[in-house]
């Protein structure tokens, strides 16, 4: 048997006590396109970040070309011949192509750059991948596909042995995809190993040789792509023997529509999206990363200005000009990004809870004692683990930070709550507590729109599930006992059409 170019085994990694990768393995042969497949949050990007040295692995071993990599520093790993091309490119847009290709390894004589030689060097690699552009062109003037090719040229010029492509076709046209595949096939001939991450089933079969499936941070299996099909892969991705109990929600009032979203467009991300939310309902919003779920939520609360369409809350049309209006009318959004959008990390727990509710604490003079009282009340009600109500948010764990985000919006007394990935990065115990808070909310007459990549959670909590793909609603499913995760995933991956 041929020797593999990359062998990862027993890789473990956890964040804040939550295990993200458990004993994961991956083997890539020279000249092979190896597809890495898994749902959102299955651990694909974490695995790649461990490989590239961006994250430090806790256990396991990585062998590249017969040599064990024990260093954790990204620069050294690039030196060993691993190159990762992310969706957001690592190019400096303000300098030329050749300067980007030679960044960090400039061709110079006594510190003076030899421009002619540099351009010649860059041209060689651009020709190799068939990018016919003057090497002196500024990167900012290139299209997405061209930038991607520059990244690949840069990688090959470093004598790369293993190339990782993360969703390389997400933002390029079909024609450009063909060209990319041609380049990939050329790289295969040179014996370069390629790890290919993508959700587009059709292209996996076109370009991939083998496929490793991850699920919930665990290795599932590796299959030959010419011996399998979409259905089998979907099953492998979901796979688990589902052992959850669907929550009974008897609080739903079918006759009252609380939220109506009609024909919403947003740039080219959302296309003609319409959804309805009933009183007491928990509606799941499912879909892959990039399907437009968060954008939809932000359009509903007015954080993004929708290009088209209307949002009605209790029959009243929202202007959608700013978030303040939505909060006042009773619809709130709990961001998936606690650190960047949910909280002010350098401020105290009390200040964070008070922030969207300042009107409730006295006008014009704020009653600080009342703020403290309220925050202490939430600390005990939501069992927030914190040293005091004056602790800075940055010192709390993820689960407790999330509870503070919830507390801040609970106090605003809304009628519709949009939870965006409410349990991401949170341990199991805290998850159940958050589910209970959500149930309390619907019990008290509120309604919930829950965005989640976790299908178990979606099936456990929701009355109904809307699936988005590429900014369109592809399914509106009742969460009944015969609804399978495969079915949801199928709509998210293919939009429901057979044969893609």
């Amino acid at each position: 048997m041929e020797k593999c170019i990359l062998e990862m085994s027993g890789i473990c990694k956890s964040f804040f006590g939550v295990q993200i990768l458990k004993d994961v393995e991956l083997q890539v042969m020279p000249g092979e396109v190896h597809v890495l497949l898994g749902e959102n949050g299955a651990g694909k990007s974490t695995l790649i970040k461990v490989l590239s040295g961006a994250y430090r692995k806790e256990e396991g071993c990585i062998v590249l070309d017969g040599e064990e990599l024990c260093c954790d520093c990204p620069k050294e790993i690039i030196g060993k011949g691993i190159s990762v091309i992310y969706q957001e490119f690592n190019l400096n847009p303000y300098v030329s192509i050749y300067e980007n290709i030679l960044m960090g390894k400039e061709i110079a004589n006594k510190g003076i750059i030899n421009t002619a030689k540099s351009i010649e060097f860059a041209k060689k690699y651009l020709d190799l991948i068939g990018l016919d552009v003057d090497p002196c062109t500024l990167v900012s003037e290139l299209s997405v596909a061209q930038k991607q090719m520059v990244e690949i040229a840069k990688a090959i010029s470093c004598d790369v042995k293993l190339l990782v492509l993360d969703e390389p076709t997400a933002a390029i046209t079909d024609k450009e995809t063909e060209k990319l595949f041609e380049i990939i096939r050329n790289l295969k001939k040179k014996g370069i190993g390629i790890i290919y991450i993508s959700h587009r089933m059709s292209e996996l079969f076109e370009i991939g040789d083998r496929c490793t499936v991850l699920r919930d941070g665990e290795y599932v299996t590796t299959v030959d792509l010419d011996k399998t099909d979409v259905d089998e892969l979907t099953k492998l991705m979901v796979g688990r023997n589902v052992s959850f109990e669907r929550v009974e929600n008897n609080y739903i009032d079918d006759s009252t529509k609380v939220l109506e979203v009609k024909n919403v467009d947003y740039k080219d991300i959302l296309k003609d999206v319409s959804i309805e939310l009933k009183k007491g309902e928990i509606l799941g919003l499912s879909g892959l990363v990039g399907a437009g779920r968060t954008e939809l939520a932000k359009c509903i609360v007015g954080a993004y200005k929708k290009t088209n369409g209307e949002v009605y809350l209790n029959g009243e049309k929202l202007k959608g000009k700013d978030v303040k209006e939505s909060i006042d009318k009773g619809i709130v959004y709990l961001s998936e990004d606690r650190k960047d959008e949910g909280l002010i990390l350098i401020h105290t727990l009390t200040d964070n809870i008070a922030l969207p509710n300042l009107e409730k604490f006295g006008n014009p003079v704020l009653d600080i004692n009342k703020m403290v009282e309220v925050s202490k009340d939430y600390i005990s009600k939501l069992k927030i683990k914190t040293s005091s109500h004056l602790a800075e948010m940055k010192n709390l764990s993820g689960g407790n930070q999330q509870k503070v985000v919830i507390a801040k919006w609970l106090h605003s007394d809304a009628s519709v709550y949009i939870f965006d990935e409410p349990t991401r990065g949170i341990d199991v115990g805290a998850r159940d507590e958050i589910y209970n808070i959500m149930l309390d909310l619907v019990k008290n007459g509120a309604s919930i729109l829950m965005i989640s990549s976790d299908l178990v959670e979606i099936q456990k909590m929701c009355n109904r599930i809307v699936v988005l793909k590429d900014g369109r609603v592809t399914a509106n499913l009742q969460n009944t006992d015969d609804l399978t995760q495969e079915k949801i995933l199928h709509y998210a991956l293919t939009g429901g059409e057979q044969g893609e």
Binding site: V301, A303, D322, V323, K324, S326, I327, D328, Y333, S335, D340, E341, G342, L343, I344, L345, I346, H347, D351, A354, L355, P356, L358, E359, N363, P364, V365, L366, I368, S387, S388, L390, A391, K408
Partner: protein, 329 residues
């Protein structure tokens, strides 16, 4: 029993948490500087710690302290305002021109306040709606306002203001120069506003995390603009205090005051990155700068050395302020 003990420990812990180590370092520093000057002065046979000296220090720090309020507010939102000093210079000359043209003093001062607010509004609108970096916007308005000041009188100073102008600051209440009372009153007002009003909370939120602030329903751009307007108004108040003290308008007045105001802010421990700090400590920062100036003058230290020492104090102050963060790393 055990529970009671635990509660006791917790309440003590809570009190300790409330206790602000950073401010304490600043106060100790200020007292230390005071002691050092007192000792050195007495060795050299001079008096430092006298009532008149203390009053002098506060009066002379008044302008920096007042424009420091505006500078600090802007810095708390995560911005910076370099134009505050230029407005101080402009106010003097502009008021002079108006008074010479026969406008009553009271109306003159109101017009000046409006102009300051306008400069602030332009700064704020360009920063928050125009998305131009605050440093660049206010660097530009600073130059423009300075230029306008010189254009107004061809660079000549103006003298001969009415007596009533001097009276604004040069009276005493219960033996205390009224300007000192102004400073304390303004700080009391601003400290209250920051701690106890929605506006105050919101400017901290914007500086702490503008995304989270926006998603919490705060109209970030509006509040940000308003903060620059307030900074403009405080600059005018500073300018009026200076004009009243000198009864003489110099087109070069207020040069580099913006840097002193920013220095007072950072010595006071307000984070340049925004969202954190106590405005009251800016007053302490301004007083430390005033103390240095006054003390070194009494000791006959040449102006050039004064600048060097001031520079060192700024760096040392912030270095000490960052001790906790260094430890965290």
């Amino acid at each position: 029993m055990l529970l009671q003990e635990a509660n006791k420990v917790n309440s003590i812990k809570e009190k300790l948490k409330k206790f602000d180590v950073k401010s304490l370092t600043l106060y100790i520093g200020a007292v230390l500087i005071l002691i050092i000057f007192t000792v050195i002065c007495s060795i050299n046979g001079k008096d430092f710690l006298t009532t008149s000296n203390i009053q002098n220090i506060i009066s002379q720090s008044a302008v920096i302290a007042v424009i420091g309020i505006g500078a600090s507010l802007v810095i708390i939102t995560g911005g910076i305002d370099l134009s505050v000093g230029s407005v101080v210079g402009f106010v003097g000359i502009f008021a002079g021109v108006l008074v010479k043209a026969g406008v009553p003093l009271f109306a003159t001062l109101l017009i000046c306040l409006a102009v300051g607010a306008l400069v602030g509004a332009i700064n704020g609108a360009l920063v928050s709606y125009g998305k131009v970096p605050a440093f660049i916007v206010t660097l530009g308005t600073m130059q423009i306002v300075r230029g306008l000041t010189k254009v107004l009188t061809d660079g000549r100073p103006i003298a001969g203001f009415p007596e009533s102008l001097a009276k604004i600051t040069q009276t005493e209440i219960l033996g205390i120069p009224v300007v000192i009372l102004y400073v304390f009153a303004l700080y009391a007002l601003v400290m209250f506003t920051l701690k106890k009003t929605k506006f105050g909370r919101r400017i901290y939120a914007i500086g702490g995390n503008p995304n989270a602030a926006k998603l919490s329903g705060i109209k970030v751009q509006k509040i940000e603009t308003l903060t620059y307007v307030i900074a403009g108004i405080f600059s005018v108040i500073g300018g009026i205090i200076l004009l009243s003290r000198l009864s003489y308008a110099d087109p070069n007045a207020g040069s580099s005051y913006e840097l002193d105001a920013i220095a007072a802010t950072v010595i006071g421990g307000i984070a340049m990155s925004g969202g954190k700090g106590k405005i009251g400590n800016t007053l302490v920062g301004a007083l430390i700068l005033g103390m240095l100036k006054c003390g070194l003058q009494i000791l006959n230290v040449a102006v050039y050395y004064q600048t060097i020492i001031t520079g060192l104090v700024i760096i040392v102050a912030v270095y000490l302020d960052k001790a906790k963060e260094r430890k965290a790393e």
